[in-house]
Structures are given as C-alpha cells and as structure tokens.
C-alpha cells in the first residue's frame, strides 16, 4: 500500500468514525443521563460519568411511567398484528404476482396509492368509524388500523418478491397439477422466505414505534412510545427518570435491530432502490 493510499484510508476511517459518533452521541448521552441521581442538584451534563450509577432509576421509571401497561399493549398489538398483516400481504401479493383476473391491475394500483395517502387524510373520519364500532381505547382499534395501514406496503413488497421467482418453479408445480394453495405454501413461501422475514421485521418495527394512532385512539391502552411521551410530559424536570424511560422503550427495538440487522438493511436499502 502506498503512503498516499494509506493516508486516504486513514481519512476514510476518521470520517466514518466521526459520523458514527455524531449518530450515537445523543443516545449514549441519554443512557448516561439515565443513571444520574434524580431530582435537583446534580444535573446530567452529557460529558461526565454520573457521580454514582443510579440503576434504580430504571425501576422507578418503569413504575412511575406505567411501562408495564404500555409494553403489554405494544406486545399484544404486535403479536396479533404482525402475523396477520404478513399473512394477508403474502396471500394478496401471491395473487398479484402469479394470477390474472379482471381488474387486477386497477386493484393493485389502488393498493399502491395507499403508499402515499397520509394518515392525516383519513384520521378524522376514522375516529368516528372506530367509535361507532365501539373500539375506542381497545387493542383491537390499534390492531385493525395498523394492519390495514401495512397493506399497501406489504402487498407491494410480497408481489415483488414472488415476481422474482423463476418461472420454472411455478411451471413445475403446474405440471404436477398442484393447486394454487399448495403451490403457495409448498413452493412460493419457502422461496420468498428472506423477503417474508424482512417484511416481518419491518412490520414489527412499525408496530412497536406506533405513536400517532395510539395518541388518537387510546387513553388507557397506550403503546410504549405513547406511554413514554406522556411520561416525559408529566416528569419534564426529572431528566434522569425520563431518560431511563426513553432507554426502556428503545431497548426492544434495539434488540430486534441488532439481531435482524441484515433484514433491516435489506428492507431499507435494497427495498428502497428496487422497484
């Protein structure tokens, strides 16, 4: 390696490290702040380690922020909503990718339209619809609305995944006389497993992070982010406690992100440019 390319390499690392530091500094800072003594006196300044590590802040935040309740909501909603929306997307995407039926193009474009209809355009009547159904402040309101909100992307994503299957796969199944249902589960779903996993992870992230719907439709059944927002609103002056709350809410998504990093990247990068 020549001297100039070594300098070049060093500069590359310097830049990347610098950018990474900017990206994580506020996050590390909030973790440090969460371990400061609560109440007035020692303010977390962001550069120094806390004088003593107050791990009990996490227990206090968990209790005062009522995170047990909001975590339960987020978990129940995700456990029902993620499989449901992935299943419906697989079924729909399969039909759009492998079958021709009258109006299929038009229906598909209606779904695609959903990718850019903002929630704000439907939220007002939705509130009255959900109220008419008697579902205000229930898990079902979030489950149904989040699932329906994922349909546009899910259908789009699964159709693209199934379209990338080699035609020979389908033909072989047809020659065997397999019915469409069997072909889907025996051949197409195994083929599209990576895409399905990516969709599952992205859908979970969406569900866990859901804030707006929870804000509008729930009072006692808040999601974790909505619970955090309300906690942060009530305890504005207690930086350490609110910081602990933020860390608590961030941890599940952080774990999923670290474990399924490849799927996240695929969904957000290749998914972004493909089409």
């Amino acid at each position: 390696m020549t001297a100039s390319s070594r300098v070049q390499l060093f500069l590359n690392y310097l830049l990347i490290v610098l950018c990474s530091l900017i990206a994580i500094y506020p996050l590390i800072g909030v973790v440090l702040a969460s371990l400061y003594p609560t109440g007035p006196g020692v303010a977390p300044s962001g550069f120094a380690l806390p004088p003593t590590f107050q791990w009990e802040n996490y227990a206090t935040a968990w209790r005062d922020g009522e995170f047990a309740a909001s975590f339960t909501t987020s978990l129940i909603v995700a456990v029902v909503m993620v499989p449901a929306s992935v299943l419906l997307s697989v079924l729909g995407g399969y039909a759009f990718a492998t079958m021709r039926f009258r109006g299929s193009k038009a229906i598909f474009y209606l779904f695609i339209l959903g990718l850019i209809i903002p929630t704000e355009a439907t939220i007002v009547p939705l509130f009255y619809d959900v109220r008419a159904l008697g579902l205000i402040d229930t898990y079902w309101a979030l489950i149904i609305l989040e699932t329906s909100g994922e349909m546009a992307f899910g259908i789009f994503w699964m159709r693209a995944a199934f379209l990338s299957a080699p035609p020979s796969l389908l033909e072989a199944a047809r020659i065997d006389g397999a019915r469409s249902w069997t072909t889907l589960w025996r051949i197409m779903v195994p083929f599209a497993r990576p895409a399905i996993l990516t969709l599952t992870v992205l859908t979970f992230a969406d569900s866990w992070n859901e804030f707006f719907l929870a804000l509008v439709f729930t009072i006692n059944h808040m999601t974790a982010p909505a619970g955090l927002a309300s906690f942060s609103g009530r305890f504005t002056t207690d930086v350490a406690l609110v910081s602990a709350g933020a860390v608590i809410v961030a941890i599940p998504i952080l774990i999923v992100f670290v474990v399924f990093q490849r799927e996240f990247m695929r969904g957000m990068l290749t998914g972004a440019v493909k089409g």
Binding site: G46, F47, W208, F257
Partner: protein, 318 residues
Amino acid sequence: MDPAPEVGSLARTTILGSRRKPKPERLPGEARRIGYLYVAPAFLLYAAFNLVPLGQGINVSFYDWDGVTPGTWVGARNYTEFFTDPAITSGYVHVLQLMVFYSFLPIAIGLFLAAVLSRIRIRGLTFFRMLLFLPLVITDVATAVAWIWMYDVDGPIATALRAMGLGALVPDQGWLGDFTTALPAVGVFGMWGQFGFCLILFLAGVMKIPASLYEAARVDGANAVREFFAVTLPGLRYELQVVLVLTVIGTLGTFDEIYVLTGGGPGTATTVPAYLVWRRAFQVGEIGSAAALGIILMLIVFAVTFVLNKVMERGGEA
C-alpha cells in the same frame, strides 16, 4: 402512511420514487378467478379503513362541524381557509423550512461524504452502518426525549458552549423554548435522524458504479469536482430520487417529534400541517376544517411525488 419517517414508511414510500427502465414484466400467470379470493381479505381491510374513510373525509371537509351537534354545509370554505388562515400558512412555511433540514442537508452531506470517502473497502463497515442507522431505527419518541435533554439549558450543548466561553449563545429557555431557534432545533433533530441513512444509501450506490467509469474520467484529466458531477452524481440518480421523494414526503407528515419536542410551540413557532390536523380534530373540535386540512395535505403529497418523479426522470435523461 405514517406521519413520521419511520422504518417501514421509509421502505414503503420508496417504490414510488424509483423509475427504472420498464422491466420486461413477466406475464402475471394464468387467468384465475381464484385470485379474487386471495386478494379479498387484504383489500377489504384496506378499503374499509383507508379508502372508505378517505371518502368520508372528503365529505366531512365540506361541513362546519364540531363533532357533536349536526354540521352545516359550508361548501369549499374549509379549503379557502388554506389561503386565508395564517395558522395554516405558517404551518406550511414551517414544513418548508424543515424540509431543508430533513431532506436537502442530509442529502448534501451524504453526497459529499460518499464522494469524499474513497472507494477503498472499509473494514467493519457493517458495524459503522449499524451505528449510523440507529437514529432512524429507534423510536422517534425516545430519540426526541434524548434531544430534549441535548437542547436543555443545562444540557451538553449548553455546557460545551459555556466551557468555551460562549454561554451568551445559549437561549434562556433552551433551544426548543426559544421562538427563533425552536424550528431549526427540530430541524437539526431531523437531520441527525436522516444523514446516516442518506450516507449509507449513497455509499452503497457508489460501490456499484463501475470502476472503469472513474478510470475513464481520470484519463480524461477530470479533477475531483468534475469526476463527482460526471460520474458519481449520475451514478447515484436512483438513490437520489428515492431519498428525495422519501424525505420530502416524510417531512410533510412530520408529527411525532413536534408533539414531543415542542408541542407546536413556543407559541405557534413550530406548528406543522399534521399537527394542525390533530389539534383541530381532537383538541379544538373543528372537525370539518381538520378533515379539509388532511385532504389538502394528501393532495400536496400527491403533487410533490408526481413533480419530483417527473423532474428526476427528466434530469436523468439529460
């Protein structure tokens, strides 16, 4: 769909942005009426909770309604408000300003870095990529809480400035509480959330540009700047289009961070259209006006998506 540029919505909007050459689309299978059965569950759910409310919303938007007593038909008044109501105008002015931070600056920074970083393989890129993605992946509300602390009068930014003898620069109420700095402060938060994603996307794009193009440019005696405009920028066209559409649409729907960071304040210094919809519908009880604002926001998103795609398409052919 979602008001904030969160994970799924990112991937989700993208598709609209990409405009690759029309693929020779494989004939989508056999004619089979059973297709309706497969599509039906998804479509019914989607229609019932997206398309139908959209229709209802258009209807409601022509009424003056408080949500309780019967509404009165007011024609297009809720729409003409768009031009006469200073609260709405300022909401859109704010969102335009935020766009600089949420879209243009992260793209500029990402492009610059992607160009400056040479094409030497960086070891541990996966690890750095993970760190750079974190601001986007972690729940907005949690990162917003982190930034409330960052911007506090006793927070790290203020502490650092004071240590440098620049304490006079710290607003009395912190950056989020100050009328002139609150909006840019929200913007910087958004910029922090987006720049890593832009950088990584562009970096991946640069790696895909054939090395021969760079060699050819060098043989032609192109300097770094010329090389950037002749090779790198055209090579990143799709990525650029995608990120632009995504971040601009994302900005138009900004809600979560406004709610958590400033609540639209101080005063009305950081109100945005999505926040106005929520406030009017669920705090003030101006349902008709809120519905109209939502529809207008949608029309603007449609128009922006269309225009951006057209412009980028033309730019690509030039």
